[in-house]
């Protein structure tokens, strides 16, 4: 729909419009510290420290080393974050401290040549998964193995999930749902004969693509093929079910087979309770990207809670359930 407008307008412009490069006199500002810090209850965390650059610069983003990074829990200093020794210069700082839900955290960072920055965020306690129900789908496969004989089999996969949660009535809540599955990654090297030899296997939890028609996530792009949303996670607010119990429905999109590691039918459902900083940051980043390149839309400023700097300091907490599908 919007495309139609731009097409029409584009038509009008293309007939006559011409372009010139203009010198724009923008205020020159010194680079600022950019903090990207998402912390999780009951888990260690790392932060990324970089610096901003002038808008016209094409240089890569520079990381910041040698900064003094401290974390406070309700004004008590609880950790000093150190640079990763194995990979210096990546701008990654970490500690062994584990944050807890229901606490207020403050991050203070100073580095010579930059203005010191500070940010505060509160980790909301996790809203538990109240109930989980699911449907499976069976699918048949066949292939010719190395010896040329036909192999057939059946596989049962997860199809649809209904997740029930009890929204807390006191505040605005922001949620994210992910469906994770173990994926096997092979590491290997070539030997003298050019053969590929597997030296190690790695198991990693990867999100599966989800599709949902649920009203809390449904995308409403006009004249879209259908109104469903799909992506690697579902992010939504409690706007339409504030303070009540709600069951959200979603589907695992497609089938993921990760080899014969026995964990094929194990899925992990994650319900994240995001704090408002995290939600507003993600929403505004997405909106800024959506409106980019449209000269008639007002640009969207990204949510920033870093005083004297840029970036985000936010947190979330998790509740997880495992789905095991019996063959």
């Amino acid at each position: 729909m919007q495309k139609l407008h731009y097409f029409l307008l584009g038509l009008a412009i293309s007939i006559t419009a011409c372009e010139t490069v203009v010198e724009v006199d923008l205020p020159q500002e010194a680079p600022k510290l950019v903090t990207h810090a998402i912390i999780q209850a009951d888990s260690t965390f790392w932060i990324l420290l970089t610096q901003s650059k002038p808008i016209l610069s094409q240089a890569d983003i520079q990381t910041v080393s040698g900064a003094e990074v401290t974390l406070y829990e309700e004004e008590t200093r609880v950790a000093r974050l150190e640079e990763n020794e194995e990979n210096p210069g990546t701008g990654i700082y970490q500690s062994s401290f584990i944050p807890t839900a229901g606490q207020m955290y403050t991050l203070r960072i100073s580095k010579q040549g930059f203005e010191s920055v500070e940010a505060t965020t509160y980790i909301q306690p996790a809203v538990p998964i109240q109930h989980l129900r699911y449907d499976t789908t069976q699918y048949e496969y066949s292939y010719y193995d190395d010896s040329g004989s036909l192999v057939t089999g059946k596989e049962i996969n997860l199809k649809e999930v209904w997740l029930t949660l009890n929204d807390s009535p006191d505040e605005d809540n922001f949620y994210e749902i992910q469906l994770l599955q173990y994926t096997t990654y092979y590491q290997g090297e070539e030997d003298e004969n050019g053969e590929y030899i597997i030296t190690d296997t790695l198991q990693r939890l990867d999100p599966i693509y989800l599709r949902s028609n649920d009203p809390v996530v449904a995308d409403n792009e006009f004249f879209e093929e259908d109104g469903s949303f799909s992506g690697s996670s579902l992010v939504f607010t409690d706007e339409i079910f504030a303070g009540k119990s709600y069951t959200i429905n979603f589907e695992a999109e497609g089938f993921y087979s990760s080899g014969n590691d026995g964990d094929d039918n194990k899925y992990i459902v994650v319900l994240r309770t995001l704090n408002d900083h995290f939600y507003r940051y993600r929403e505004s980043v997405e909106l800024q990207r959506d409106t980019e390149g449209n000269p008639f839309a007002e640009p969207v400023p990204v949510f920033n809670n870093i005083e004297e700097g840029y970036g985000i300091f936010a947190g979330f907490s998790n509740d997880t359930e495992t789905i095991l599908i019996e063959e």
Binding site: V22, T50, P54, I61, F222, V285, E298, P299
Partner: protein, 782 residues
């Protein structure tokens, strides 16, 4: 030199209602018309040289002047017309219907200051009338004469983006203009993104713009009133005029029906790029596809004069913009003929209609009752029908579907207005009106019938809102003394929506004090309320702009405006005015950052945020209305700001069309007897925009304060030359025009171009819309 031409006067004086009582005063009343075609002359002046009192004619050409029993010497004047005088002994109520004839253009018509009501005499300030002939004489974009674009050349009125016809009056938004066509509000005055306005100049008699000091009879919008009167139709003879241009052609026909009591006018216009392009597109696509765009509008009006007391008018306007794409494809598979069809379109337009009845109760009391219907609608549709063969049976199957998005506003209104002129010291106006609005803010209807997938028929977001707007007003133009004149009034309005009732009592006052015969000072203070909002997410007049009512959550817009000014008449040839104003506006709406305008599942109230605005500035205008060279020079110095808690982190920011300096010069010159030349030059401070100043991980732009950057200044020269010639059948004119004569590359928008080598810097690029564009059109009249 004064010219009184009795032979041209058709002066009808006859007995009015004889007052039996012992009265010292009698009333002279009647209608003032154009001698050539019988059109009403609006705002003509009537002045009694004996008693030194006067008045002016209303929208219907009606005037009324109550004078002592004495010999009177009335002088009738109207700009550009030969003045006429009538002397007689006023011994009873008298009706004088008078017809003025146009002054020969090359003659110097000199009228001394005491003759006509001049700028320094009028109480009303911040008001400008532009004669329609002047509008037609000025250079026009692509040869299409545009009333709204002419108004953009006046001080206090900013244009929006390049080429568009939106009006931003004294820091207000485009939704705050009450655009009246024969008293009926027009909701979307744009054709083709506002590059053209919906008003066809050939059908228009008079245009008046009010920017402040609003008289109590107007209400419902915050920033301006644009009162456009359609022609009534020639009562003397059948005539026509028209033009053929590069964009559109138009034809107007008018004349009497039967006798001089009834007349009509009908005027039509249509663009025809689509017709010319159609064979080309068909040839390109082997006849499978048709794509096109056009707009048209039709104005029509009939009126009948029953008597000097009663007159009836019926007028209508209909206009639409249409964009369409049709695709048709035939195929033969396995000996079966299959056809695919797909059609998509986009259309929007206004319909307005009014039935009016003028009635004169007594020579001192004139009334006008009006019934109106108007609607604006915007409609997108897509319809398809595909035929295919079922694989197994080789049977023909059909899938078809239809989707449609519709939004709009529909009004039914009734009003009655009275003009009461008890004495030359008072001009009282009062009246009431009621409007029933139906808002249709976006409904999506999807139907499909597929032999493969089944049927569906759903409607989304079809929430209609009904509301009623009621208004009552009274005002009096009081001549306190020879020097002091006051227009005081009250406008009351009420708006009922769902279970909410909003009311507003708005005082209006304007004062004029004459310092000397050529100079007066004026001041005014008004309050305004507006019960409807416009949802718009761009600076261009998109048809998706949506009218919505004030609600429980989104309250009505309100404003206050004070203005102070001086008017000076220099050598009776130049009218000079200087005005300063200060205006505050509350409950303005803007889209939230990043909101999607056409999301039918989301309530529009969740997509907007509410804030305030202030604007102030000074305006200077020199206008020359008569002589071989006419035109004006206008300059505006202004500031316009907005403050929204949820935008720009709550900080005040400049309005998008905040324009510090705005200058315009418009000149029409009768060069030779049959050659007219004209030009306009405009200069304006660049539009305010928001630019990113820094970038950071992960690919995020940091934007400075909203609208804190200015694009380059806008300036442009347009010129035109008209060659006229009398023919056996009438008159023809060739108009050669040039838009943006010195090819200034005015900024339309800026964008960041990052498509460069990493070693180089990014660049901001400026896109300009219109380079120098010549035009030619042919006009004729008979």
């Amino acid at each position: 030199m004064k010219k009184f031409l009795p032979p041209l006067v058709s002066l009808l004086a006859f007995l009015g209602s004889q007052s039996a009582c012992f009265a010292q005063k009698y009333t002279v009343s009647g209608y003032i018309k154009d001698q050539r075609n019988g059109e009403s002359l609006i705002g003509a002046n009537i002045f009694d040289k004996q008693s030194l009192s006067g008045t002016s004619s209303n929208t219907y050409g009606f005037y009324s002047l109550t004078l002592p029993r004495d010999s009177v010497k009335l002088l009738y004047t109207y700009v550009g017309y030969q003045p006429l005088s009538a002397s007689f002994l006023l011994s009873k109520d008298t009706t004088i219907n008078i017809e003025l004839s146009e002054g020969a253009l090359l003659d110097e018509v000199v009228i001394s200051a005491e003759d006509a009501e001049k700028i320094q005499e009028i109480t009303q300030m911040s008001t400008i009338s532009v004669p329609i002939e002047q509008v037609k004489s000025l250079p026009a974009f692509l040869g299409e004469v545009d009333v709204l674009k002419t108004l953009q050349l006046l001080p206090g009125v900013q244009s929006g983006n390049e080429g568009t016809s939106g009006l931003y009056v004294r820091g207000g938004g485009p939704d705050q203009n009450l655009i009246l066509l024969d008293g009926v509000p027009v909701y979307n005055a744009s054709h083709l993104f506002g590059f053209f306005s919906v008003f066809n100049a050939d059908a228009i008699n008079n245009v008046q713009l009010i920017k402040g000091g609003f008289p109590a009879r107007y209400g419902g919008r915050l920033s301006s009133v644009i009162d456009i009167s359609m022609k009534e139709g020639n009562t003397k003879k059948f005539q026509g005029e028209g033009s053929i241009g590069i964009v559109a052609s138009k034809l107007t026909l008018e004349g009497p029906i039967g006798n001089e009591k009834t007349s009509f006018i009908i005027s039509g216009r249509r663009t025809y790029i689509d017709l010319l392009a159609r064979p080309l597109i068909q040839a390109q696509t082997d006849g499978d596809e048709i794509v096109g765009y056009y707009f048209y509008d039709v104005n029509a009006k009939v009126n009948h004069t029953f008597s000097d007391r009663d007159r009836l008018f019926l007028s209508a306007y209909l206009g639409d913009d249409r964009f369409f794409a049709r695709y048709r494809y035939n195929d033969v598979q396995n000996g079966v003929n299959l056809q695919d069809e797909d059609e998509a379109g986009l259309q929007w337009g206004n319909l307005t209609s009014a039935l009016r009845w003028n009635h004169m109760f007594t020579p001192k009391l004139f009334s006008n009752a009006t019934l109106t219907y108007s609607r604006y609608r915007f409609d997108i549709f897509n319809e398809y029908r595909y035929e295919y063969l079922e694989d197994s049976t080789n049977r023909k199957r059909t899938d078809s579907g239809y989707a449609n998005y519709l939004s709009g506003i529909e009004d039914y209104a009734a009003k009655i207005d009275f003009d009461f002129l008890p004495s030359p010291q008072h001009f009282v106006r009062f009246g009431v009106s009621a409007i029933n609005h139906t808002f249709k803010p976006g409904a999506l209807n999807i139907q499909y019938e597929e032999e493969s997938a089944g049927e569906i028929n759903t409607t989304l977001g079809s929430s209609r809102t009904q509301s009623v707007e009621f208004a009552a007003y009274a005002e009096d133009d009081i001549e306190v003394s020879d020097r002091l004149k006051i227009n005081a009034g009250l406008h009351f309005s009420a708006f009922s929506v769902n279970d909410e009732l909003y009311t507003s009592l708005q005082p209006r006052i304007a004062v004029r004090y004459r310092v000397n015969p050529a100079l007066s000072v004026k001041a005014s203070y008004v309050q305004m309320a507006q019960f409807i909002h416009l949802l718009t997410n761009s600076g261009i007049g998109l048809p998706t702009d949506l009218w919505v009512p004030a609600t429980e959550r989104i309250r009505p817009q309100r404003s206050q405006q004070a203005a102070l000014g001086a008017a000076y008449n220099w050598k009776s040839a130049y009218e000079i005015s200087l005005e300063g104003y200060y205006k505050t506006m509350d409950n303005l709406i803007e889209y939230r950052e990043g909101a999607n305008f056409i999301d039918v599942n989301q309530d529009w109230q969740d997509k907007v945020t509410v804030g305030d605005g202030t604007s102030y500035g000074a305006e200077f205008l020199v206008q020359k209305k008569q002589g071989r060279t006419t035109g004006w020079l206008g300059y505006t110095l202004s500031w316009a700001n907005r403050q929204f808690d949820e935008l720009n982190f709550g900080k005040r920011f400049p309005y998008k069309y905040d324009r510090r300096h705005d200058l315009s010069l418009a000149v029409v010159h009768a060069w030779k007897e049959r050659v007219d030349v004209s030009f306009t030059w405009v200069y304006g401070t660049g539009n305010a925009i928001t630019l990113p100043t820094a970038a950071y991980h992960p690919d995020i732009y940091y934007y400075g304060d909203r609208n804190s950057y200015r694009m380059a200044a806008y300036h442009r020269l347009d010129a035109s030359i008209t060659f006229k010639k009398k023919k056996r059948w009438g008159e023809r004119a060739w108009v050669l025009g040039i838009y943006n004569a010195y090819n200034r590359r005015n900024p339309f928008y800026l964008y960041l171009d990052e498509n460069r080598e990493p070693s180089q810097e990014s660049k901001f690029r400026q896109v300009s819309l219109f380079p120098v564009i010549p035009s030619i059109s042919y006009r004729f009249s008979f």
